[in-house]
Symmetry: C2
Subunit: 291 residues, 2 copies
């Protein structure tokens, strides 16, 4: 007799880069039975079927979640509350719900607004993975390998729900860590949300210059790497900035003060101050990566 599979019926709401890659990885691991897709873009859903990412799809979340053991809500943060509200009355008993949102405080607030309490089978999650690409076409089974997935289980979350979602992500090759909601949002504001805000702003600053065509012509490899994240989905990042507003604004303020200090050092020819910043940054970066 075959060992029991972890998730007999998985429902992915939002079959994009993350949702699609998760389905692919779980299929490759042989730990998922049927995969039900759900979304608003039928072209994308048909592509998901053609690519073998999902077996069936619905455009109505209420239909899609019927009988599912696990529901993964992989929609932009701005659509989270609407989706959670739509599926709530239709979840099968014992169904575990998780999400993949890049900010967690806002998702927990959405859940509380929908239910009036924290349902014990809801496990907030965030895979720290992705590319600047979007859509199921960009999904691939190894996206989460050796990447970190942060879960922010709440006091109300049951151990069963928590461990099911932990196991699900481990099967994709990810390293799963638990973290508090607020701490997650502070860490991500620093390492992800702030850099995206800076990259978008930089490219937009240059794009609005009179001689932008000429300027972009002389951009080198460093610029290409630096601005790659500015090719990310604008709507998704708009949602993240709104969702993690407080912590992002705090990081922007910190960064802006430091940039103003650097500008002062350049203006006043305080060479020691400039060198100190650059050397400290290089040391930190070199300690982090070997490339």
């Amino acid at each position: 007799m075959a060992a029991q599979i972890l998730i007999p019926r998985l429902c992915i709401i939002g079959v994009g880069l993350i949702g699609g890659s998760l389905a692919r990885a779980l299929r490759e691991a042989g730990q998922v039975g049927e995969v039900i897709g759900c979304g608003r873009n039928e072209d994308n859903l048909r592509a998901a079927i053609r690519l073998g990412v999902v077996d069936r799809y619905y455009t109505d979340p209420a239909d899609a979640v019927a009988g599912a053991n696990v529901v993964v809500v992989a929609v932009p943060l701005g659509a989270m509350e609407t989706v959670l509200r739509a599926i709530a009355p239709h979840l099968a008993p014992g169904c575990v719900v998780t999400d993949v949102g890049s900010a967690k405080g806002c998702v927990v607030a959405d859940v509380e607004r929908v239910y009036g309490y924290i349902p014990p089978s809801f496990v907030p999650g965030h895979p720290i993975a992705g590319t600047e690409k979007s859509g199921v076409d960009a999904s691939f089974a190894t996206l989460f390998q050796h990447r970190r997935v942060i879960l922010t289980p709440l006091a109300e979350t049951t151990a069963v729900a928590h461990h099911l979602i932990r196991r699900m992500w481990e099967l994709t090759g990810a390293e799963v860590v638990d973290m508090g909601v607020r701490h997650h949002d502070a860490v991500l504001a620093a390492t992800s949300h702030l850099p995206h805000a800076l990259a978008y702003t930089l490219v937009d600053t240059l794009a609005r210059l009179d001689d932008r065509a000429e300027i972009f012509r002389y951009a080198a490899g460093g610029f290409r790497d630096f601005t790659r994240i500015a090719s990310s989905d604008p709507r998704m990042w708009h949602d993240i900035c709104i969702a993690n507003r407080e912590q992002l604004l705090e990081m922007i303020a910190l960064f802006s003060a430091d940039l103003a200090r650097l500008a002062d050092a350049i203006r006043t020819d305080d060479r020691a101050a400039i060198l100190t910043v650059f050397e400290r940054a290089k040391t930190a970066r070199d300690n982090l990566y070997l490339d």
Copy 2:
């Protein structure tokens, strides 16, 4: 009889990533006779000989330039005036001098301070190439292939000197373009100097947070790309910030105002404004690169 080679004796002052790669490329093109290296770090110079990048080396620039047809000054901008002053009395008649500095106005000012005028055989240059690595060990012959080299010849520059340096860079596989000094510095402030200032500042901002170890642990691929240029040589970039102070400060001011405007939009929940910036940036970035 063999065709005449372009540069019978080439002197590279500063045998690092750029100087070393130029020597390698010209050797591979078979258009250089003897390559003389010069620098202060004898370990690096011995490595340059071992790697076949140079044939001989001197630590005194006055010795190194003797009899050279072309002298390439590939030292940090902060060392430029000292080197130019040291070599001036020792240049062979007809010797053409060029540099590879990332800012050009300051180099022209250095030349004027050294000579009291612009020597007709001096051709300011800037290859838009490089990696975050430094030193001759990081050099390679194809560094300049399909990259742009900007020359900023002056009214005083002779056509012979200009065309010799143009040809030299074309032999490396680069596309050579001419530009005015001030325009060069404005373009590079936007696409290179500002991004480096931002990357260094971001990494330093995070590196000074109390929970920096925790924060860096959850940095993803986007952060790695975004901060790669913060691994560049701090001393070199310190020099560039000083050398192109005026134009860099202008770009930092523009960027800071745009970032403050984005922060305001996030604070006041002006979602249309956020989305406009992100969409405009993504469009500009996607038009620029296909990755």
